[in-house]
Amino acid sequence: MSVFISALGFGVVTAAILAISAVGFTLQFSVTNVFNLAFGSVMTLSGFVAYWLNQVGVDIWLAMLAAAICGGLISVAINELLYEPFIRHGVNLFGMVIITISVGLIFDHGLQAVVGPSFFSYNAPAGKALHFADFVLTRQELAIIAIAAALTAVVQGALQYTRLGKAMRGLAVNPALARACGVPTRSVIALAWFVSGALAGIGGVALFLDISTFTATTGSEFLIVIIAAAVLGGVGSPRGAVLGALVVGVVTEVGGAYWNPQLKDVLAFSVMIVVLLVRPQGLFAQLANERAVAR
């Protein structure tokens, strides 16, 4: 039992990091319909901004805030300077997926050319481990869980209850109608990119704190797991992304505790594929349902 409980605790930590990032990924996708595979690079880049600040003595949580702003700005810039022009140029959705991969590669390797292929870590002690029955978590991990819970609640609440959130949802379901109803499309889309990038920034710093060392490609490597969580929940549904993150996080850690830990990611990915086969739209997808992405 104790193995299960502690694994569950670890699963929640992983899920928290996943949830922050997966909500960012899926929110932006639902509003703009761009499957942004450069998301992991935004995480890395913001994570490095936090690293540089941390190096000159800025507290890591403050650096995380800076990373959020930075991630948001990078994200908006990518959209305005690259994606939007390409969409206007008539590149279809498949083409856009390939463009986002290109952007991710350029970012990752550009960064690598600057920082080298070396390892980096934040200067931030994890704090003493706290024991709650069989749960063992550090202060840092508790903080990450709290941040994740707060952020996902805020995003969900904003989508549900604010005018801007409603405009965003409207844009996600039916762009033409939303535009006709006077939704300021351009600024809402820009906001979606900003929020998505900010979440990428926070998720990136949280990830790097958690794994303690990182390189110029760590974010992109983690992206696959984020996508698994988002797809599992039903791409386009922030609530689904949280649920997907929980499933992936808990399945990997609990599965790893009882089965071959080397294959725990395989377990999570298999769950994702099986769920998709049974429920092709994902676990939790009202928004996604409405817009099957075809050519």
Partner: protein
């Protein structure tokens, strides 16, 4: 094709060239700004090397997951280059070290090796082929008749028939046995094994585990880590529950750091019995980030090739290394790195063999490598290139005893080494005890 199409093609072609140009410019400025370009002095490739120079290639991964291999070998090659040229070069030729990126995978390494062989007419030797690529590239150097000094630990080369293959350090299997012997010698009863699933770590894992069992110590946990995962919490929890006194371990920097940072969160990090990887600066940097410097230095026992780091050859090497800051970024980080030291000895050995053979032709001097390293009656023992060159000039037979110690190549061109347990004390690695051949035999059963 119509003219119009032709023009379009030209436009696109021009654009591609422009893109390449932009990219080149971008990378140029970035390389300049970081200031850690590998070697400004050695120029690009053989094409730029001065006529009359001979070239030793550093054929290792400079990118990808094993990107530390390249700079590590460079830290051996450049000091050797400096000392050899300071002694007037080899038979009047200057020696040049040239980095070539193998990228750490066979499919990229093979064309890179072939391009290197084809494009440099004065290539006389190769440092390279780590565990990631040795089996695919060593045959190419064999065909090209170019001596290759490899740091691979694969047992595939234990009884190789490749006459141009040379290996100074013991294979991974011996390393594993030595780690088991160290656990016994240090008096641990409850031992855990923790190895990455990468090729380098998997070379020593089986013999380490079997050695611990053979020495009748209790294996309380035997874990293999899938490298590059974002967390190993479950594994760390299981390790903590098993309560080992010591963990026998080899894994890459990132994997080790992630695991041990998580282990330190759930419980105590026990003593560590590690391999030469733990003397690499990248590993130390990552692990210090994970569990802190003092914790690491208190716990870590590195089982490495026994080299009297107080020896004359070693002192000459470190002095040359520290003077090579132009080619080697932060040279002091490598001064105890066993692979760097072995690569230094490799280059000096090649140079002395050329002198002994009176030829820089790889096909000729290869046969002289054993002649300048093996102990022989009446041979002058030398510890530096300059001394060896002088002795050879006087027509004497020499035995080069390098920074790693004597290089006793067997008929399979494997030298093998003694092992020692080292600890990091006051900013330096110190030998705490030497493992005897009998102790290692007890672990390996051979």
């Amino acid at each position: 094709m119509s003219t119009r199409n032709g023009t379009r093609l030209l436009t696109v072609g021009g654009a591609v060239v422009a893109a390449l140009g932009v990219a080149a410019w971008g990378s140029n400025s970035s390389a300049g700004s970081t200031g850690n370009a590998q070697s400004k002095s050695s120029g690009v490739k053989a094409a730029v090397a001065t006529t009359g120079s001979v070239e030793v290639a550093i054929f290792h991964a400079f990118s990808g997951p094993n990107a530390a291999y390249g700079p590590e070998a460079g830290a051996g090659c450049y000091p050797a280059e400096r000392l050899i040229n300071a002694a007037g070069g080899i038979l009047g030729h200057q020696l040049v070290c040239t980095p070539v990126d193998s990228k750490g995978d066979p499919a990229d390494a093979v064309p890179a090796a072939n391009r290197m062989i084809a494009s440099s007419s004065n290539l006389v030797g190769v440092l390279g082929g780590g565990s990631d690529t040795a089996t695919s590239v060593v045959p190419l150097f064999q065909q090209a008749k170019i001596p290759v000094f490899s740091t691979t630990g694969q047992s595939a080369f234990d009884k190789t028939k490749d006459t141009y293959f040379w290996r100074i350090l013991s294979p991974d299997a011996a390393q594993g046995s030595a780690m088991a012997a160290a656990a016994k010698k240090l008096g641990f009863k409850r031992v855990a094994a923790l190895f990455g699933n990468d090729s380098a770590a998997q070379g020593s894992a089986p013999t380490a585990v079997s050695g611990v069992k053979r020495l009748r110590l209790k294996v309380v946990a035997n874990q293999t880590l899938a490298v590059g995962q974002t967390s190993y919490r479950s594994e760390a929890q299981a390790m903590s529950t098993a309560k080992p006194q010591a963990i026998v371990s080899e894994a890459d920097p990132q994997t080790s750091a992630t695991f041990f940072s998580e282990l330190s969160q759930v419980g105590q990090v026990p003593k560590l019995i590690t391999d030469p990887v733990s003397q690499e600066p990248t590993w130390r940097k990552a692990m210090i980030g994970a569990i802190g410097k003092s914790a690491l230095d208190q716990r870590d026992y590195a089982v490495v090739a026994y080299s009297p780091m107080t020896s004359q050859a070693y002192k000459v090497y470190t002095a040359a290394l520290l003077a090579s800051s132009k080619q080697v970024s932060k040279p002091s980080q490598w001064d105890a790195d066993l692979y760097s030291v072995a690569d230094y000895d490799s280059v000096i050995t090649m140079a002395l063999a050329m002198d002994a053979a009176h030829s820089t032709k790889p096909g000729v001097y290869n046969a002289y490598i054993t002649k300048v390293t093996s102990p022989a009656h009446g041979a002058t023992v030398v510890h530096t290139y300059a001394a060896g060159k002088a002795a050879l000039a006087k027509g004497k037979r020499i035995q080069y005893v390098g920074a790693v110690g004597p290089l006793a190549f067997n008929r399979y061109h494997n030298a093998g080494n003694q092992f020692a347990i080292e600890q990091f004390v006051n900013g330096n690695w110190k030998v705490s005890s030497v493992l005897s051949a009998a102790e290692i035999r007890a672990a390996s059963g051979l």
